[in-house]
Amino acid sequence: MGRTRTKRWIVFLGTLSLSLFLAAVSPGSLPAEKAMDLVERVMAVPEWPSRMVRDLVVKAVDLVAGERSLRERIDRLEQENLALRGLLQTTVNYGLGTGAGEGHVTLRPPTSWWSEIRIDKGSREGIRPGMAVVQDGALVGKISRVESNFSWAELVTSSSLYIPVVVDETRDLGVLNGDGNGLVLLLYIPVEKDLKPGMSVSTALVSELLPPGIPIGRIAGAGEEIGGYRLYRITLKADLSRLYKVKVMTGGRS
């Protein structure tokens, strides 16, 4: 009886301490990320029927509600709009490309909540690093890593992502950067430029994969002044607290 109880305690404390050790050490580590990617890959096989059922239900609901054609039209118009905005800003021809692929967010690690998400679309669907990720037409981030059937996107709130942007009303150029805790700042705007709250900010020319003119958000207010430049706080147009589905803009030129 005593030996059984001792064994029970050893097994319990062993599993509990190993769990707590893993929870303390593994988040954000490379082996943990590799393990998560491996599990995603393995589980993709048994999860396939569920995914199919979900997509079928969504399509059926769309059809019943008569939204399908409207959505396609909106997508087409968004693409046209982006291409036209691109032509206004640069001579690079982005074209209409293959359109925007919709993906579900399959993982958002709490330890890097404001930095990255994983979506269930990968290189098989034409996703490439650097492509824009949008929610309801507003930029939420950029594809950072791509595997065959999933990819990781870095969010605009990430402290390591810098995105050249333009203030739509004044055409002033700046750089957008997150603080890793949900705040987004507009950098490198000279102090003499008097930007007002409410002015909209969209992407400027970055690369051939991230087209200019994607709406990002609005100026919320002025921040501190550093070396002749003023920081501005940005309110994002996308709702990062409700990030379930995103679109990847696959229309760029490689």
Partner: protein, 153 residues
């Protein structure tokens, strides 16, 4: 022990189907509580399975390996201890089973939100999940009553 892994797979498949819509009740936790109650005198093998199931869930969904496995190990330990402490005649108590399972589900669902301090914005999803969990638990309690009666006979 197969019931535990089947429930884990069922929860995973349901979570994929409902992703972006709702949080699925923790069916794995219900299986663990069931197994801990039924095997309250010798729960040792359960710890390892609870650890494995929790770790797999964390790697697939939460992104914090060890978080769910810790809560599962704790649930198994406390449930087995409580049931083994009860006199054999009082173990077949469906009310206790229902409230115990409900409390365990609430605590283990809220635990990740507290642990990461990032999930508090999901309060409405959490409330929906608890509502669905109560419906599942009513069914499980009915099964428990049946199980106790068949073993009593």
């Amino acid at each position: 022990m197969g019931i535990l892994w089947i429930s884990l797979l069922a929860r995973d498949l349901l979570q994929v189907a409902f992703s972006g819509t709702a949080l699925v009740p923790d069916l794995t936790l219900f299986s663990l509580i069931w197994l801990s109650v039924v095997r309250c005198e010798e729960p040792e093998p359960l710890f390892l399975h609870a650890f494995g199931a929790g770790l797999l869930w964390d790697l697939r969904w939460t992104g914090v390996p060890g978080m769910t496995s810790a809560s599962y190990a704790l649930t198994v330990a406390v449930t087995a201890w409580v049931w083994s402490s009860l006199p054999p005649g009082r173990r077949a108590n469906p009310v206790l089973f229902f409230f115990w399972s409900s409390a365990a589900h609430v605590l283990t669902s809220v635990f990740p939100a507290i642990f990461t301090s990032k999930g508090l914005g999901l309060s409405s999803s959490l409330a929906t999940q608890q509502g669905m969990a109560i419906a599942c638990l009513l069914g499980l309690t009915a099964l428990y009553i049946r199980h106790c009666r068949s073993h009593h006979e």
